[in-house]
C-alpha cells in the first residue's frame, strides 16, 4: 500500500488529516512557517488521523534542530548573509534525456519561483525524439540547447558554458523545486569560498513499494540543519552526506576553480552515476566549501518499478566505486581504500555471510545485493569509460 505525504506546519493551528484512504502509512513533513524542520513516517488506520495523533507523532519526531529554526526566525537573523550583501544572479539548468512528462512538471516549477531566475536553460542530452523541444516550446523564455554528446556530466558542462548567471542551479528533470528553492540556494553564496550549495530533496510520491524502498534505502535527504562542509576541515572524500546533484547550485566559475564535471562519470556512461559526488570531492580537495541548505527544498519522483529501482541502486554502487577508482589511480588518494573497506565491512560483508539474506528475492537485501554487484563492476566501468572518452 502506498505512503501518503502530507505537510504539517507547526505555526498553524493543529488539524487532523483525512482523505488518507488506501494509504498504510503517511510521511508527515513538518514545517515551521513554511520551512521544513523534520519528517516522520507513521502508520495510518481508517484513512484519517486526528489532530492529537498528528501532534503526538510530530513532537516525537522533532529534535533540537527545530528549535534552532525557531530561534533564527524569532530573532530575525540570517547566518547565511547580512542583508547588505548582494545575492548573485542565478541560471536554472535542467539536463534531460527523453522524459517530457517529468520535464513539463519541472519547468512548471522553475517558472513559478518566488524570485524568478536570471535565465532558465534546458539541455537536451543526445535526443532521439523532438518531444523535449516541444515541451520547452510551451514555456516562453526558456532556452533550449541540444547537447549531442551523451552523458549527464557532458550536459552539465554544456550548461556551465552556456549560462550567464553568476551561479548555475541544477535540478533534475524528474524533480520539482519549491518556490523558495532558488532564493535559499543563492543566499549561501555570500561566502566566496562556497563553490557549491546543495538542498533538501524529498520524495514527490511514495506510490509503489519501489519508491518506498528507494526512500528508505538511499534517500536524498541529508537532514534539516544547515551544514557547511569545509575541505580544510572535513574529510573531502566522505561526500555522501553533502547532498546530491539533483538539487545543487554551483558558481559558474566552477570549471576554472576545480575543473569541469568529469565526463567519464554519471548517467549515459558505463559508470552510470557518481559525477556529482566526484565533483563534491574535488571541490573539497581544492579547499573550497559546500553548504547543505535544507531550506532549498525540491521534490524528486523516484523510479516507480522494482526493475528501475534495482538498476538505479546498482548504478549508484558502480558510480561510487568508479569515482573512487579514479581518485585512487589519478590522484593517489589512498584514503578511498579505507572508505571502501568500511562500506564493505558494515554493509556488504554481513550480507555475504548470511545465505538467507543473500538470496532474498525482495526488499532491502536485494537492493544491497544489487549495490554490491554495482560496486564490483565500478573499477572496470571506470576503465571502459576512460578508454571510450580517450577514443572520442
Amino acid at each position: 500500500m502506498p505512503t501518503a505525504i502530507r505537510d504539517v506546519d507547526l505555526a498553524l493551528p493543529p488539524v487532523g488529516l483525512d482523505r488518507l484512504d488506501g494509504a498504510a502509512r503517511c510521511m508527515l513533513v513538518v514545517r515551521w512557517r513554511g520551512r521544513v524542520i523534520g519528517r516522520t513516517v507513521v502508520p495510518v488506520a481508517g484513512g484519517r488521523m486526528s489532530s492529537e495523533d498528528v501532534s503526538r507523532h510530530v513532537t516525537a519526531a522533532l529534535d533540537t534542530d527545530a528549535l534552532a529554526t525557531w530561534v533564527e526566525e524569532a530573532i530575525g537573523f540570517d547566518e547565511r548573509a547580512s542583508p547588505q550583501q548582494p545575492r548573485p544572479s542565478a541560471t536554472v539548468a535542467i539536463c534531460t534525456h527523453e522524459r517530457p512528462d517529468d520535464l513539463a512538471r519541472a519547468l512548471g516549477a522553475v517558472t513559478s519561483l518566488s524570485a524568478p531566475a536570471h535565465e532558465i536553460l534546458v539541455v537536451d542530452n543526445a535526443p532521439v525524439t523532438a518531444r523535449t523541444r516541444s515541451v520547452v516550446a510551451q514555456f516562453p523564455g526558456v532556452r533550449y540547447i541540444v547537447e549531442p554528446r551523451k552523458g549527464l556530466n557532458v550536459a552539465r558542462n554544456r550548461a556551465l558554458r552556456e549560462a550567464t548567471g553568476d551561479v548555475v542551479a541544477f535540478t533534475d528533470d524528474d524533480a520539482t523545486p519549491e518556490p523558495a528553492w532558488l532564493e535559499a540556494l543563492r543566499a549561501n553564496f555570500a561566502d566566496r569560498r562556497v563553490l557549491c550549495v546543495t538542498g533538501l530533496t524529498l520524495p514527490l510520491e511514495l506510490e509503489t513499494t519501489a519508491q518506498e524502498l528507494f526512500e528508505e534505502h538511499c534517500t536524498f535527504a541529508r537532514g534539516f540543519r544547515r551544514r557547511v562542509f569545509d575541505g580544510r576541515v572535513d574529510n573531502p572524500l566522505a561526500v555522501a552526506k553533502v547532498g546530491a546533484g539533483a538539487n545543487m547550485a554551483v558558481r559558474r566559475t566552477l570549471a576554472t576553480a576545480v575543473g569541469p564535471f568529469d565526463e567519464r562519470l554519471d548517467a549515459g556512461t558505463p559508470t552510470r552515476s557518481g559525477g556529482d559526488h566526484e565533483m563534491f570531492a574535488r571541490i573539497l580537495l581544492g579547499g573550497w566549501r559546500i553548504v547543505y541548505e535544507p531550506w532549498a527544498v525540491s521534490w524528486h519522483r523516484h523510479r516507480r518499478s522494482e526493475r528501475e529501482l534495482v538498476a538505479t541502486v546498482r548504478g549508484y554502487g558502480t558510480g561510487v566505486y568508479a569515482m573512487w577508482t579514479g581518485l585512487l589511480l589519478e590522484r593517489r588518494e589512498f584514503a578511498v581504500l579505507r572508505l571502501a573497506w568500511r562500506w564493505f565491512r558494515y554493509d556488504h560483508l554481513p550480507l555475504l555471510l548470511s545465505p538467507a539474506r543473500l538470496l532474498a528475492p525482495k526488499g532491502r537485501d536485494r537492493l544491497r545485493r544489487a549495490e554490491l554487484a554495482g560496486c564490483l563492476a565500478g573499477p572496470a566501468a571506470w576503465w571502459v569509460s576512460r578508454r571510450r572518452q580517450a577514443m572520442t
Partner: protein, 425 residues
C-alpha cells in the same frame, strides 16, 4: 595622498609582483611607496634601479631589526597622512588603493582591515593547511556583524591614518613576532574603530613550508610570553593561557616541550616522521592531528625559551586572573531592536541578556575585543546560545507549546556558557 609601507627581508620575485600590482591600480589618487629593506643587500630587494613606475618609490635600508622596526621606519619616511601597510608577498587587486582611500573618507580615525586571500606556494597537505589557517584568520571580517579583536589587525594588509598610528603608539620594537596583535590590542583599548575595507582584495602568496611554520610557532610562543608581560589581561585570549586541546597527544606535546631531553626529541622526530607517512597515505585526519601536535610542541618550546623554566610556564598559566568588568543587562522582552539600541548607547564590554527577567546568557568581558555593539547581539544568540534562549522563552511562556518538549529540562542559562565562551573566543 596615501603612503604604502612595505617591509621586506629579501624576496625579490615577490617584491616585483607587488610593485607590478600596485602599478595597475585603477582610479586611485596619487600615492607613494616606501620599501624598507630590513637587513637586505641592495641587489636582493628586487627593485630595478632603471625601472619607471607610475608612483613615487623610495627604498630605505636598515640593519636587520625586524618587521616592527621596519614598519616604524617606513612611517617615518612616509609623507602622506594615510598609511597602507602591505607585506611583500601580497598581491593587491587593482581596486585596493581606491578602496582604502574611500574607506577612510567614510570612517574617520578607523583602522581598515584588507583582504588576504591565501594562495600558498606550497602544494600538498601543508599548502591546504596554510590556506585554511589564513581563511580562519580572515573569516567573518567582511560581515558587518563581526566583532573585531586584536587578532584582526594583520599588518600584511591594513590601513590607518597617521594620527591613529601615532596616538596608539607605533609598533613595539621589542617584539619580533605578534607585534601586530600587540598594536591591535592597544588600538582597541584606545577605542579605535575597526572595519573591513570592501573591495580591497588581495592574494597572499605565502611561501612558508613546514620548517617555517614550526619556526613561526616557536616565535609565537616567545612573543606570547612577552605580550602577557605587557598586557596581563591577554593571558586567557592566547594559547598560552587556555586549556590544552583534547587528547593525550596534546598533553604529551605540552609535557615533552617543557622537559627537553632525549625522550622529548624522540617525540618530536616521531611527529615529523608521522607527518610524512600520513601524507604519503593521504590520511588527512591523522596528518592534521600530527601537525597540530608538532605545532603545539614548537609553541611550548618557544614559551619555555622565553619564560625560563617549566615551573615558570606552569605558574604563568595558573596565574589568577584580574577581575572582569560587571556586565550590562539588556532584556529582550521589549524587542531585539530596543535591546540593540540600548547596547549601542552604552557600548558595554560585558553583557548579560535576559528575557522577561529570565537569564539567557552572559557574555563576559573579553580583553582585546572591541566594545559590544548592537549588531553583535543576534549572532551571539543564534550561534552560541540558541538553547538558552529557547529555554528562557519557555520559562516566560514565549515558546510555542508544540516546541516546548524539545527544550531539554536540564538546559539552563549556564549550560551553554562554557561552550559559548569558547566559541566566541
Amino acid at each position: 595622498m596615501l603612503s604604502v609601507v612595505v617591509p621586506t627581508c629579501g624576496r625579490p620575485a615577490s617584491m616585483r609582483r607587488l610593485l607590478t600590482a600596485l602599478a595597475r591600480q585603477e582610479s586611485a589618487p596619487p600615492f607613494e611607496i616606501v620599501v624598507v629593506a630590513d637587513g637586505v643587500a641592495p641587489d636582493a630587494v628586487g627593485i630595478d634601479a632603471g625601472a619607471r613606475w607610475p608612483f613615487v618609490l623610495r627604498v630605505v635600508h636598515q640593519a636587520a631589526l625586524g618587521a616592527a622596526a621596519a614598519r616604524n621606519r617606513g612611517v617615518d619616511e612616509a609623507r602622506a597622512s594615510l598609511l597602507l601597510f602591505l607585506d611583500d608577498d601580497v598581491e593587491p587587486s587593482p581596486a585596493t588603493v581606491r578602496a582604502h582611500v574611500g574607506f577612510h573618507a567614510r570612517h574617520q580615525g578607523a583602522v581598515g582591515a584588507g583582504d588576504l586571500t591565501p594562495s600558498p606556494e606550497a602544494g600538498g597537505f601543508i599548502g591546504a593547511a596554510l590556506a585554511g589557517w589564513w581563511e580562519r584568520m580572515c573569516d567573518g571580517l567582511q560581515d558587518p556583524r563581526h566583532r573585531f579583536t586584536f587578532r584582526d589587525l594583520l599588518t600584511g594588509h591594513c590601513s590607518m591614518p597617521r594620527p591613529v598610528f601615532e596616538q596608539v603608539g607605533r609598533f613595539d620594537l621589542s617584539l619580533m613576532c605578534h607585534e601586530d596583535f600587540e598594536f591591535g590590542y592597544r588600538a582597541i583599548a584606545a577605542g579605535t574603530p575597526f572595519g573591513y575595507v570592501t573591495g580591497a582584495d588581495a592574494l597572499h602568496h605565502d611561501a612558508t613550508r613546514l620548517p617555517g611554520i614550526l619556526a613561526r610557532k616557536f616565535a609565537e610562543g616567545r612573543a606570547d610570553v612577552q605580550l602577557v608581560a605587557r598586557h596581563p589581561r591577554l593571558l586567557r585570549e592566547l594559547p598560552l593561557g587556555r586549556g590544552l586541546a583534547e587528547g593525550r597527544f596534546a598533553t604529551r606535546a605540552f609535557e615533552a616541550a617543557l622537559t627537553p631531553g632525549t625522550g622529548s626529541e624522540l617525540f618530536h622526530r616521531s611527529l615529523l616522521t608521522a607527518l610524512r607517512v600520513f601524507e604519503a597515505m593521504s590520511m588527512r585526519d591523522k596528518w592534521r592531528d600530527a601537525l597540530e601536535r608538532a605545532m603545539d610542541f614548537a609553541y611550548w618550546r618557544g614559551v619555555l625559551a622565553e619564560a625560563g623554566t617549566a615551573e615558570d610556564v606552569r605558574a604563568l598559566r595558573a596565574r589568577v586572573d584580574p577581575p572582569l568588568a560587571e556586565p550590562m543587562t539588556v532584556d529582550l522582552r521589549r524587542g531585539l531592536a530596543e535591546a540593540e539600541a540600548q547596547i549601542d548607547r552604552r557600548r558595554p564590554v560585558a553583557l548579560r541578556v535576559t528575557l522577561g527577567g529570565e537569564d539567557v546568557c552572559v557574555l563576559p568581558e573579553q580583553p582585546g575585543s572591541e566594545r559590544i555593539r548592537g549588531v553583535h547581539l543576534r549572532p551571539l544568540l543564534l550561534k552560541v546560545y540558541p538553547g538558552a534562549l529557547a529555554a528562557a522563552a519557555r520559562r516566560v511562556g514565549m515558546l510555542p507549546e508544540v516546541l516546548c518538549s524539545l527544550v531539554p529540562d536540564a538546559l539552563g542559562p549556564s549550560d551553554e556558557h562554557e561552550r559559548g565562551s569558547a566559541r566566541v573566543a
